[in-house]
């Protein structure tokens, strides 16, 4: 028996090299994208920038790029929170509604004479609480995230409209709440505090997802919740934490929105729910969970903004921008499907 076994071992190791799949260019590309899912959107972003620059050199002017970044700041920061939720194989349709609600609370309290930092903190905690509610419904009552957040989308939107009573709040000279809209000149670039805050969120969460146990557990839970649980990950806690931390991010996004529009408007974030998902998906994060990188979502948000801005500069009908983004989303999901297919 023993000798038979060792003979088999030798025989099969000899055939091993023959049977090993050949290293075709397609397979190598597959391996590369598998390791770095944000690579393909980065290539798209670079190509788009080059094309728009060739078509209209005004595109690369620091002034234009600064505006572009400022326009991307709100959706870009929402996308950080959305990425966390999508990595757990969930989805949050209520991100924009949470942000607008928090934004209105901040604005209304601030306009009513409350000190800015206090108004901010109340709005911030409301945002965390709203996301916590989503997380509770998903982890405790085991409802599908899509349904939960579809419901809370309506609830939070209604609450915003009721609370605002159709008013738009303007904050003039409110230094703390509108501080995120202040421009900081860096070289020839005029960046707002909001843009820097967004970039800080990306740096922070890229670190948290890559370098901490929490990040690994988030990926493992999104990848295969049952396997993660059996391996000893407390998956329910990880899931809930993803929603709650995302809520904190939406609170920051609300602050950035207040600064951007110098006030609060119940209709300001109407499309933000879907735009954040668009940014995440274009950024190469898998809707099936456990795969992707937060930096991809920044690239995704920038791609949408670059198309918007670039096509406008060329003088193309803005509707084509919407069309182009739709095509990109489908291509991105198709690419993800290919990347996830692994032949062993």
């Amino acid at each position: 028996m023993g000798t038979l076994m060792s003979q088999t071992v030798e025989a099969s190791s000899a055939t091993d090299d023959v049977l090993r799949p050949r290293n075709t260019p397609g397979r190598r590309l597959h391996g590369l994208l598998h390791r770095m899912p944000a690579l393909s959107p980065l290539v798209v972003l670079i190509i788009a920038c080059v094309i728009f620059t060739l078509a209209n050199p005004r595109f690369v002017r620091p002034q234009n790029l600064s505006i572009l970044l400022q326009q991307a700041a709100v959706v870009g920061s929402l996308a950080v929170g959305q990425t966390l939720v999508i990595l757990t194989a969930g989805i949050d349709l209520s991100v924009g509604a949470i942000m607008v609600l928090a934004c209105l609370v901040m604005g209304k309290l601030g306009a009513g004479g409350m000190p800015g930092p206090v108004a901010f903190l109340i709005g911030f905690f409301l945002s965390v609480l709203a996301a916590f509610l989503n997380g509770l419904l998903v982890t405790r009552i085991k409802l599908p995230p899509f349904i939960v957040t579809l419901g809370t989308l309506s609830i939070f939107t209604a609450l915003s409209l009721i609370y605002a009573q159709g008013q738009t709040i303007t904050l003039n000279g409110h230094s703390f709440l509108t501080w995120t809209g202040t421009t900081i000149q860096i070289g020839r670039f005029g960046l707002t505090v909001g843009v820097l805050l967004m970039l800080l969120l990306y740096v922070g969460f890229a670190y948290a997802l890559r370098q901490t146990a929490w990040g690994r557990h988030l990926y493992a839970t999104g990848n295969d919740p049952e396997a993660a649980r059996l391996a000893g990950v407390r998956t329910n806690r990880v899931l809930l934490s993803a929603y709650v931390v995302a809520g904190a991010v939406f609170g920051i996004a609300a602050w950035i929105l207040v600064g951007r529009i110098s006030g609060a408007d119940p209709n300001a974030g109407l499309n933000a729910n879907l735009e954040s998902i668009t940014a995440v998906v274009i950024g190469g994060t898998s809707l099936f969970g456990g795969r992707g990188a937060v930096v991809g979502s920044l690239i995704g948000a920038l791609i949408v903004q670059v198309f918007d801005n670039g096509l406008a500069l060329i003088g193309v009908d803005p509707n084509y921008q919407v069309l182009a983004v739709g095509v990109l989303v489908i291509i991105a999901v198709a690419a993800d499907q290919w990347i996830r297919s692994v032949k062993s």
Binding site: A228, A231, G232
Partner: protein, 274 residues
């Protein structure tokens, strides 16, 4: 005889009206391989899950080194030195081998980087992972940075076994470890099982594969319809006899008339009724 490293007494687990386990006793000593065999639905996986903390039994007790424990999660069982390789392997496909080995027991960097910034000691864990894998003599895993989903079935199995073997200090439970493997990989897993026994660990091996079971097991625990219907040894019974008991074609008493003394462990034999 020394205190068993792992002991279960009268384990009961119900799934609604369906009986998963019906008062099962099990005894495992250090340095032995106990095989658990049984037909589909005999309660093998349920038994394993109760012992590894993945399920909480409705009644009965579990003792580790003679003292009672109550596992509320797999973490509790791990803390008690019991590691399990599940049939589904419980590996995260998109994570690399080293991350999977240290999943849910990540190590942080020393100093302020680890304590305040919660930074993982990725390099250290990778180093340890490849050391452990070398130590265990697993040759199929070459690149520790490879995502588990890019591995073959046998290699994934090796990752799961390596994880259990590297951290199990008392007991390693393997649920169908060779079911998806070829001849060569099966041989490697069985060698690993023998190594674990040599190191003085208790090993529980759940398997459908009778030749494998009778090749490595010291004792064979036979499950049938949620109960233990006998514990035999490869010396006292043939594989065919064990299968006959397992399927209900024969009873333990029939297969060895008048020779009950040759039973492997008189304290933990046939299933008791509640």
């Amino acid at each position: 005889m020394s205190t068993p490293v792992l002991q279960a007494r009268g384990l009961v687990k119900m799934f609604g009206h369906v009986v998963g386990l019906d008062g099962v006793d099990l005894t495992l000593h250090s340095g032995e391989v106990l095989a658990v065999i049984g037909d589909n639905g005999a309660g093998k996986s349920t038994l394993i899950k109760c012992l590894s903390g993945a399920m909480i039994p409705d009644a009965g007790s579990i003792l580790v080194d003679g003292s009672p424990v109550s596992f509320r999660s797999t973490q509790d069982a791990r803390a008690a030195g019991i590691e399990t390789v599940y049939q589904t392997l419980a590996v995260a496909p998109a994570l690399d081998i080293a991350s999977n080995l240290f999943l849910a027991r990540e190590q942080r960097r020393p100093g302020i980087l680890g304590s305040v910034f919660r930074m993982l000691d990725t390099g250290g864990m990778k180093k340890q992972a490849s050391e452990r894998i070398d130590e265990l003599g697993i040759t199929t895993l070459q690149n520790i940075n490879q995502a588990v989903e890019t591995l073959s079935g046998g290699q994934r199995q090796a990752v799961a076994v390596a994880r259990a073997a590297a951290f199990g200090s008392k007991v390693v439970i393997l649920d169908e470890p060779t079911a998806a493997l070829g001849v060569r990989e099966t041989g490697q897993v069985l060698t690993l099982v023998r190594d674990l026994r040599e190191r003085g660990l208790g090993v529980i091996l759940v398997s459908h594969n009778m030749p494998n079971v009778f090749e490595v097991a010291d004792r064979v625990h036979i499950q049938r319809l949620g109960r233990c219907v006998g514990v035999v040894t490869p010396q006292s019974h043939t594989a065919a006899e064990a299968v006959a008991i397992m399927t209900g074609a024969a009873r333990l008493a029939d297969t060895e008339p008048g020779d009950g003394a040759r039973q492997a462990d008189p304290t933990a034999d046939s299933g008791r009724s509640r």
